[in-house]
Every structure is written in structure tokens, then in C-alpha cells.
Symmetry: C2
Subunit: 519 residues, 2 copies
């Protein structure tokens, strides 16, 4: 008699057959059969996270670095809700993510037990695909559909709700001949239109996003720029910028809308590659959120779900652009090691002086991080991952997932203290998995962006009751204790020299480290 | 010329006029006008929380202790999402909560900026009432409607979405003559039906929940029990049990369904007071989730939205029950101080020996807490608050809100380490507000309930890959450092004697304390 296979086991086999190799989880009673199925499906590594926002942020980081989805395994509606803020960021990063959410059997849900809620409705705002398994026999196929949905270009969040009786029932795994969905390039006519625009005597910018921000796409973009004089721009925040010495540069748009308007002024044409037209982060009284200059013609070379890299290649060829490395690629250059009092600027310059080749930077530094970005433009090639959806609490989990995706690469997490507090539990997973991550906490004990925005909104002399709600200084969180409490060695630095010493030390030693930089 | 009043200021005035006195917040750019409006509306205390799950859990705790809603002020969809797990618990506790969620102006939302999402859809699974302001002039009235919805019996989560242009526009506050919604008692015929059931010669239980679990309701229930021999039962978890010496006892149902079935066996009639019929927490293969014995007649004396206390009084009167304190009320009695190795049991007994009069216990102790509950039945009167929705991460925030509601009462938080990790940021708010809270962390370094459930589900010898996903022991979180990092003094205890010493010390000193009890 053949061994009976549970649907949970078959689901895990299907996941592994599609190439999913990691499952970030904080399971509960409704997920136990799925956890137990990981016992024998050794192609998938189960990674325990002590809060679901860590699971989703790590899945996002894993996807940004591999192009492949990770799975999350979450406990009913509340588990999904806890994951949701970082799923929002993942959605904005167009990261493929497969959420597996346990639920009560449909029959028991009718009893309205305490943990029941409307999971499908909850899932929809962050998920491009939501489905609920209805029986054990269909579960493996549903799982396959979820992975396919996650990988539908440009990458999506897919949520599969799994009533426990579907998981504990029996189902053979189907044979899986896995082919990820294809990503179409731009049509010939679209390329021809863009080429025509670039041949016209009109100041033109290419706004490049998504996977076209990796080396190959940037090289084609630089060929186009060299041939036509077009300016290469990118969104303020995108999922992953490949950059550094020898990689053509793009200029990210500024954060505040009036600065974007200034940057875009004078362009008569904007060609979009893998991104929608730029939009302001926030609206303000008596200010327009129209970022484009009047009369600017906007056309898409590639929609987000199309292959921006191949489209840029086709466009460069259509323009007869050459193949030589263009002038846009910066030569290797590092700033000198900084001196003077510790500040966001000296930290940024120090990172520019020391960033190792192949580093992955998870940047949720808020108001403190622009110095580091500027100082690293000519350092050896590296990846820069941004806060795509604006929901703070991404940085540490994202770094965790990126480090699991790329265990041989150093990961640097530049993290504001406000956002760090949201998902500090990710440090524990870094300790458990002994990941090579150096977290720099910009410890200014405030939500500084709010103080800036308060001023911009006309509250020039805010009262104490207002500023008290924007400051973390009473009491000051002690990041050394918080980090050590999670199992990650930590130090506090108050001078630039100490930062340099500790940053070097953290990079040299294996495993995670945290530096609280008091600025 | 009269001073121009912003709609944000008028909103805060309306909130204060309805008696709202606290606003738990982690604001962002879209909430700045509302934060600034708290500057002058000094009847409302703004309380900063470093994660939105703290805001919602604290609002729940505040509501359980006062019967009045607190406001939360949250940053768009992600802020609401972070609050949602504890809003789920608040919904199950039938706590009134008013969520104020900032959003982009409708015109800017059409640009799909990074932080935009479908907030109304997100809000629905946890909110009985969701509305979105459409202009500044209407905002104060919308706010009034939100408070009214929150206080609609039995208490609800109400979510008001506030596009920033509605907040920054101008609107005079209306004159508010605030009357909270009335809570209807049971009809005479319903009371008569219940009285008839209780007069029949059939074993009958009263299942009592909601506000009827406070002293007055319990006294009427005990009159009924004394008159008719009915058994007084309560849900496994409810929002707030008033209990202790001199207060009539109810027996909470056990957690596992087979034990509930055993407890209910033999009852021919079940009368519901303020609660739906009991339901199992989870479903299991080959087990029924039907908890009631076959043929048991179920009738509601009072629906959750009716006044259970008044209904019990009417029923007692209809039965001609006397007014004397009945035998069900336990006399004052405390266990002896325990000896022996530290365990969940010795901790529980020690709490029974030491619990101060008027204490509020926030209980998210999971598998460790039943001993404390049992040991405190005869201690001086106190309140016991349960994990109503099963979503872990409630305990520390709930204690925070309860302490703000009742600054003169000692608050004890009994907290499993797994759930503590979810919302440990609440400790920081306890430190900032110098709240009299003693948190006891049951530090067993595992999700013990999952190991129990694994065994119950037939995985008698789980492999290492499975159990590794249910254990926090690699590395062991250091709760002393985590707590001190948040500004709350902490100690670790490993003996019963040390626990007793430190528990007494924490109660004697003002401000928050944390005890990590390694069991």
C-alpha cells in the first residue's frame, strides 16, 4: 500500500518544485500541518520570525535579490494583518511573494470562533491575487497558481488562504514542469515611437525603474543617453538600484514635490521604462501635485509588467547606439575617511570610504541617509534597496531576507531609529541564522521627517504637546540593549572615529552586528 | 474678524465634547494637522506609541476599564494594518474604539502615490463602522458619528478615514449635546421565557459575558443561581472579569473543545446573557466542534448588544429571587507563599498570595497563566482582562491602556514570551508615562501551545526542523535587556523566592517594572 500523502506535504513539494527555497513563518495552530510538512521537504528552509512583519519584509528582500518569491506562512487574519505593512512595501517594490495563510475549516468558520475574520477582504488591498482552497485535492494546484500569480510580471503579492481541513486532508502532488511566466518586451511600434521622440530636438528624460535599474538595463540606457543626449532619471525610491564604479548612473528624483518639479523643469518629453509617471509622496495645501512641466509629452517604452531591460536594448539598437561603455559610468572613487563630530553626513562619508564590493544596502534611513547614497556613487559595485512603499519598519527585515538570499555578500542596513522600533524582532532572526548584516541605527531620537513636514506645513513654532508626539527622547531607547536582547552584538558610538572603527570591525567579523550612532 | 478654525481643531473639540480623553498615536505626514490640533485641545492627552499595534491594544485596555472609547490616530493603510491585530482583539472584546486614519486627498490618491492603498477595504474586517470624510465642513459631524458608532452597543470599532485636505480645511465645531447611545434591556417576554426555563426541572446553565461579568451583573446572576440551582458559566476568554473575595464566581469554560464538551454535558438548557453560544477555538480532524450536548435547548436572555446586567436583574426579580449575598461569592482567602523550584505554578500561587486589592490583570500568559487565575479567586476584588481574539501581542499594550485609564490602580501583566515579542514597544510608552505596571514574562522560550497542539494533532515525535520553528531558544531573548532598552527597569528571576522578592518590590515602587521569570 502506498504511503498516504497529506495535502500539506504535497503543497510543500509543489512549492519546492517551482524553486521556492525559503519559508518565513510565525505559525499557529491552523498552520501546524504545513509546518510539519517542512520536516521532510528539505529543499525549503523554514525561517522563524518573531513577528509577521519580519516574515513579509524578509520575503521582499529575498525576492529583490533573487527575482524569486519566498513563501510566508501566517496565522489567520491577524497574522496576515501583522505582515501587511511590509507586504504594502513589497507590492510597491513589485516583489513576488507567496503568502500562505491558515484558516479555520469553512464549517467551523460559520461558528465565528475568536480568531475568525474575513481574511480574503483583508488580503485584497495588498494582494494582486487572492484565492482560498476549498478542498485538499485541489490544494497543490492552488499552490501552483499562487506561485504563478506571484511571478506574473512585474512580480506580485499572491495570497492563498488554506483552511486547515484542506491541509490535513490527503492529496498527491502533481508532477510539476515549472516554467515561470514570460515577461514580454515592448512592441516594435512602441520602440519606434520612443526612438522617434528621442530623435526629435526636444529635451528628453528616460525615467527608469524596476529590473531595468540593474546593470544590463542601465548599460543600454547609457548607450541611448550617449547617442541622444537624453537624461537618465529614476524614481525617488525603487526596489533595487545596481550602482557603483563602472555602472551607468541614473539620478533619483528628489523627495519633496517642489524639488521634483525643479528637476523635471525644462524636459519636453518623458519616456517611462518600467514605471508609471512620477507622483508626489504627499499633497500639501496650496501646492500642486503635478510634477511634470506643462506640455511635457509622456510615453511609455515599457509598462511595469513588460521587460524594461530588453526594451531599452531594442531602443538603443533602433537608435543605432554604440556598444562602448559610456561616460555616464562613474570611475572607481571613494571619499576620504571623514573627521569631525559624528553626524549623518560623516557616517555617510565613512560608508562611502569603506563600503565593501558586492555589498547590499537596505536603506530606511529617512532624513539621515542621503549622505551615504551620495558618498557611495563611485564605490565598488553594490545594490541599494529602498523603502518603496513608505511604510516604515522595512529596513531590518529586508536586510534579513537579502542576507538569506545572498549569504556570501555583506549586507548593510541603514536604519532610522523610528522605523527600527517597528520591526526590531528581525534582529533575532539575524542572530539565529547568523547572517552577515551590519545595522547602523541613526539614533536621533525623533521622527525627524515629521518635524520637517510640520515646518513645511506652516507650524513654525510648534508647541511642546505637538513635538512631544514626534520625539523618542523621553526615554531614549537604548539600542545596544535592545539589540543584545535579541542576540545581536551591539555598540553605541558618539564620535566619527568610533563609528569608523566599529563599522570596520562589524564588517570583518561574521554574523550580525548593530551600531547605534547617536546623532 | 473671528479666528479661523481648522477642521482638525474642530474634530478634536468634538472628540473631547463626547468625553474622549486620550488619543494613542503614531502619526505621519498625513496626520500632522490632527497632531497640531491636540496642542490646544488639552482635554485630550496625546500618547505616543512606537508601533500602531500598541495604539490599538492600549485603546482596547482603556475602553475595557472605562467603558469609553479612546481615539487612535494612525498613518494611512499601513498604520491601520499595524493596528489591526489588536483591533481584532478589541472587536472580540466589544470595546468601543475610534480610529482616525489619515489619507491623501482624493485628488492625490488618483496619482497612486507610494503610501496609497484601499484603506476602507482594509478597515472593514475589523470595523463595524467605516466612513471617509469628503470635505472639511463635514468632518466634525463625521467624527461625532464615529464616536456614536463606537458606542453603539455592545461597543464597536469605528474607523474614520480623513483625507488631509479635510483636516487642513476650515470648519467650525458644532455644539455637541452628547448623549451616548442607549443600551436596551431584554424584553419582558424574553425575561418570561428565561424564567420559565429556569422554573422547569431541567439542569440549566447561564452563560454570562460582556459587562454582565462585572459585579452588579454577577450579583443578580448569583441571586438566580441561589433561587433555581442554575450553574453560572462564562466564555473561556472575555474582555473583563470582576472577581475576588465577595464577588459571585462564574466558571470560565475550558480551552480545548473536548473539555468544554465535558463541562457542558448534562445541561438540558443553556441561557445566554450577552454572548453568543460557545464555540471551539479551533477545529481538529475527526473531532466535532459541536460543544453543546445533544438536545440542549439554547435561548438568549440578552443579546450582546442588549443590557445583560439589567436583564439579569429583571430575571432575578421575575423569579422572586432574594437579595442576600449568595453562597457563590468566595470568602477572602489567599494561598500560602509557595516554595520549590520556579514554575508557572509557583508564580501563579505567589501572585495569589500577593495580588493587591484593586489590581487589574492583563492576562496573555497562554499555557502558563491558568495557575494564577486559579490562585486568585479569593483574593481582594480585582479585574481580569483576557486575550479575547486569540491574536497574540495584546497583553503589554492592553496593560498600558488600562493603567492610563486607572492611574491609581496597580496593573499586573501576565505575558508569555512569544506574545511579548510582538508588541514589546509598549514598554516604552509605559516608561514615558510612568505607569504602575508590573509585567511578568513567562520565559519558556517556546510557543508552548504549539507544541501541545502538535501533540494533539498526532505528531507525537516531531522532528528537529518542526520544533525549531516553535522555539525561541536559539538565541534566548534577554528580556532584561529588551525591557531596559525600552526604559523599563527589569530583573531576571530563576527561583520562586526571587520571584516573590522582585514581585513585591515592583509593586512597592512607582512606575513600570518587568520581571523575566525563566521557567
Amino acid at each position: 500500500m502506498p504511503k498516504t500523502v497529506s495535502a500539506a506535504e504535497s503543497l510543500m513539494k509543489v512549492l519546492a518544485d517551482t524553486g521556492i527555497s525559503v519559508c518565513f513563518t510565525n505559525p499557529g495552530t491552523t498552520e501546524i500541518h504545513l509546518v510539519a510538512a517542512l520536516e521532510t521537504e528539505t529543499r525549503i528552509k523554514g525561517v522563524l520570525c518573531l513577528f509577521e512583519g519580519v516574515c513579509s519584509g524578509a520575503a521582499d528582500g529575498f525576492a529583490r535579490m533573487t527575482g524569486r518569491p519566498a513563501a510566508t506562512l501566517l496565522h489567520l487574519g491577524p497574522g496576515l494583518a501583522n505582515a501587511m505593512a511590509n507586504l504594502h512595501n513589497a507590492r510597491r517594490a513589485r516583489s513576488p511573494v507567496v503568502n500562505l495563510v491558515g484558516d479555520h475549516p469553512a464549517a467551523h468558520r460559520r461558528n465565528d470562533p475568536p480568531l475568525a475574520s474575513d481574511i480574503a477582504t483583508l488580503a485584497r488591498p495588498v494582494s494582486a491575487w487572492v484565492s482560498e482552497a476549498t478542498d485538499a485535492a485541489g490544494l497543490p494546484a492552488e499552490c501552483l497558481a499562487a506561485v504563478r500569480a506571484a511571478l506574473s510580471p512585474p512580480g506580485q503579492v499572491a495570497t492563498l488562504i488554506i483552511p486547515t481541513d484542506c491541509a490535513w486532508g490527503n492529496a498527491e502532488a502533481p508532477a510539476v514542469d515549472w516554467q515561470p511566466p514570460e515577461i514580454p518586451p515592448a512592441s516594435d511600434s512602441t520602440v519606434a515611437t520612443a526612438a522617434g521622440m528621442l530623435r526629435a530636438d526636444v529635451p528628453t528624460a528616460l525615467m527608469i525603474g524596476g529590473k531595468a535599474l540593474q546593470q544590463e538595463g542601465l548599460r543600454h540606457a547609457a548607450r541611448i543617453a550617449a547617442r541622444t543626449g537624453a537624461t537618465l532619471l529614476a524614481p525617488t525610491f525603487d526596489a533595487r538600484f545596481q550602482r557603483g564604479a563602472g555602472i551607468p548612473m541614473v539620478r533619483r528624483l528628489p523627495y519633496f514635490p517642489e524639488r521634483v518639479q525643479k528637476r523635471l523643469a525644462g524636459f519636453g518629453q518623458l519616456i517611462l521604462v518600467g514605471v508609471p509617471a512620477p507622483t508626489a509622496f504627499f499633497a500639501y495645501p496650496d501646492r500642486s501635485t503635478d510634477l511634470l512641466p506643462p506640455g511635457c509629452r509622456v510615453a511609455a517604452l515599457a509598462a511595469p509588467e513588460e521587460d524594461g531591460t530588453a526594451s531599452l536594448a531594442a531602443l538603443a539598437d533602433a537608435l543605432g547606439a554604440g556598444g562602448a561603455t559610456p561616460a555616464e559610468a562613474p570611475p572607481l572613487s571613494r571619499p576620504e575617511l571623514p573627521e569631525g563630530p559624528l553626524s549623518a553626513e560623516t557616517i555617510g562619508v565613512a560608508i562611502g570610504a569603506l563600503l565593501p564590493e558586492g555589498a547590499i544596502v537596505s536603506d530606511e534611513s529617512g532624513t539621515s541617509g542621503e549622505f551615504a547614497y551620495r558618498a557611495t556613487g563611485g564605490t565598488p559595485p553594490h545594490d541599494w534597496l529602498c523603502l518603496t512603499g513608505g511604510s516604515i519598519g522595512q529596513g531590518i527585515p529586508l536586510a534579513t531576507g537579502a542576507a538569506l538570499a545572498c549569504p556570501d555578500r555583506p549586507v548593510i542596513c541603514l536604519q532610522g531609529d523610528g522605523g527600527a522600533m517597528y520591526t526590531l524582532q528581525a534582529l533575532w532572526t539575524q542572530a539565529r541564522e547568523q547572517l552577515n548584516i551590519t545595522t547602523v541605527i541613526f539614533s536621533n531620537r525623533k521622527y525627524q521627517i515629521l518635524e520637517v513636514e510640520l515646518w513645511r506645513l506652516g507650524f513654525k513654532t510648534p508647541g511642546a504637546r505637538t513635538t512631544d508626539l514626534m520625539r523618542l527622547g523621553r526615554p531614549e531607547p537604548d539600542w545596544v540593549q535592545l539589540s543584545q536582547g535579541m542576540g545581536v552584538p551591539a555598540v553605541r558610538v558618539e564620535t566619527t572615529a568610533a563609528f569608523i572603527t566599529q563599522f570596520n570591525k562589524a564588517l570583518a567579523e561574521p554574523g550580525p552586528h548593530l551600531i547605534e550612532a547617536v546623532i
